[in-house]
């Protein structure tokens, strides 16, 4: 196949000096060519394209909703969402709470399970990452347990803790454990030879090595592990709460909405869950950037 030389890529049509046409959209006053101006324009461009993406999804959704009348239209979902957000924190008994309260209940379970997983996973990761024997002992077990859906642990949690909300927390603990252990171990086992040589030549004691070499080097990878496990935990909590009768939260809300044929509520919940997930992730990204080694200058 030959490429026609005359066919120029669309970007070329934006050459400087070309006369603006209607297709260029509204003519904006020439932005200041400062760094701030460039950033503002980049931001505006990303924002515009994000809107395009949302528009495409909404259009496809509307089309599907036309052909299958059981599905809510985007407008119905939006109405449901704004209804949910009108009184997000009302509390009318265990099975009738505002969506904000439900999200907080779910977040609380995620944070408790996550904190327990970090408390166990970080020290375990250090052990596995620094001791070849511990690595050999733990690796086969981890390889087998890691691919198991954390939900499979739910019955065990239920029997052991005899409470389904606590079993959901247990499921989150299992979910969050593996990424934390694996990342911490990877970081702890990859201390550069230079740093280890420094520790050896200057005869760092065990405490000095841990404090000045091991932990500082591993920190970014611990945060990566925490971020990954938080992401998965937030996904799994919805399923865990669907499974756990009595664990009121955003997951049980989704299931309740389905049982009462309120699919608009389900779609609205999906959007909310997504936004909370993004907020969690960006919080950890920010922490991660702060502890990144490249940023250590001041």
């Amino acid at each position: 196949m030959t490429v026609l030389e005359t066919e120029s890529p669309p970007a070329d049509s934006r050459k400087p000096g070309r006369r603006p046409t209607d297709a260029d959209g509204p003519v904006v006053a020439p932005a200041p060519s400062s760094a701030l101006g460039r950033r503002m324009r980049a931001l505006a461009s990303s924002g515009a394209w994000a809107l395009v993406g949302v528009a495409v999804v909404v259009a496809l959704w509307s089309m599907v909703a036309v052909f299958s009348p059981h599905l809510p239209t985007p407008l119905e979902a939006l109405a449901s969402l704004s209804g949910m957000l009108r009184y997000p924190f009302y509390d009318a008994g265990p099975n009738d709470k505002g969506v904000g309260l439900l999200l907080l209940l779910s977040l609380q379970r995620v944070f408790v399970g996550f904190a327990l997983a970090a408390a166990v996973g970080v020290p375990l990761g250090f052990l596995i990452g620094t001791s070849p024997r511990a690595w050999k002992a733990a690796n086969p077990v981890m390889q087998i347990l890691r691919p198991v859906s954390p939900l499979a642990w739910f019955p065990i949690g239920l029997v052991a803790l005899s409470s389904s909300p606590n079993a959901a927390v247990f499921v989150i603990f299992i979910t969050a454990l593996w990424p934390i252990v694996v990342n911490t171990a990877a970081g702890a086992s990859s201390v550069p030879r230079d740093h280890r040589n420094v520790a050896r030549v200057f005869q760092f004691g065990r405490m000095a090595y841990v404090r000045h070499v091991l932990v500082p080097h591993t920190l970014p990878e611990i945060v990566t592990g925490l971020r990954l496990s938080m992401g998965i935990a937030w996904m799994v909590i919805v399923a865990a709460e669907m499974l756990a009768s009595g664990a009121t939260g955003i997951g049980s809300f989704v299931w309740e909405s389905y049982n009462t044929a309120d699919l608009a509520g389900v779609t609205a919940a999906i959007v909310l869950i997504g936004f909370v997930g993004v907020a969690l992730d960006s919080a950890f990204l920010r922490i991660g950037r702060r502890v990144a080694l490249e940023e250590v200058t001041v």
Binding site: V198, R200, V201, Q203, L293, E294, T297
Partner: protein, 263 residues
Amino acid sequence: MSLTISQVRKSFPGPGGGIGQEVLRGVDLTVEAGEFVSFIGHSGCGKSTLLNIVGGLTSATSGTVEVDGVRVSGPGPDRAMVFQNYSLLPRLSLLDNVRHAARAARPQRKAALNDEIVERYLGAVGLWEHRHKKPAAVSGGMQQRTAVARAFAVSPRILLLDEPFGALDALTRARLQLQLIDLWQDESETETVLMVTHGIDEAIILADRIVVMGNPPGPSVTDIIPVNLSRPRDRAAIVDEPAYRLVQERLMALLTAEAADAA
């Protein structure tokens, strides 16, 4: 103080766990107190390995290294190293890099004395006002000066330098060479310096003796050349001295012959 290296051999396991190339093939060398010895040779000749064995980071396959008749079995505060790539701990300030290393190597030393010594050497390399900066915030030359101060702050009797200025620009390198000589001769109790280098001029300007090392299968130490130039050595004037020319030509001949053999 004297350093005796006798019949040191070192081979690393080859691919598949078999016996690999013998990197050091029976090295014998005695270094007297107050001597500055440079090691020069093409990459793969084992000069860094030899330095690591003296430093106690690597153990010899056979043979011994003795400091004042005591056999070296690991790192110790009588020997401090400066590595090629600075090797500062990235999250510690320059001050803390020096302070913690000196403190770890000399645990008996009182904290106040340690701080005093650290200040002296960081000051001597001109970094006292930058002491609170992190390594990434300063230039490569400043990082290496910190590493030099760190080594001296241990008050070692033998200083081991592994291509310390290799990654620096010519001007910075020349300045650091001067600083190193000053520290060694006037500012410290450090008696002996062993320095691995790939710079012919650097070796001549700094060293009392130059150990020329060769690649397998020949002997590890090809030649040991004394540098009979008085100190202090003036970089500009020294180049015109016949002794300088002689050593330079001999080194060139040895190293190019080695390169021709390899090719």
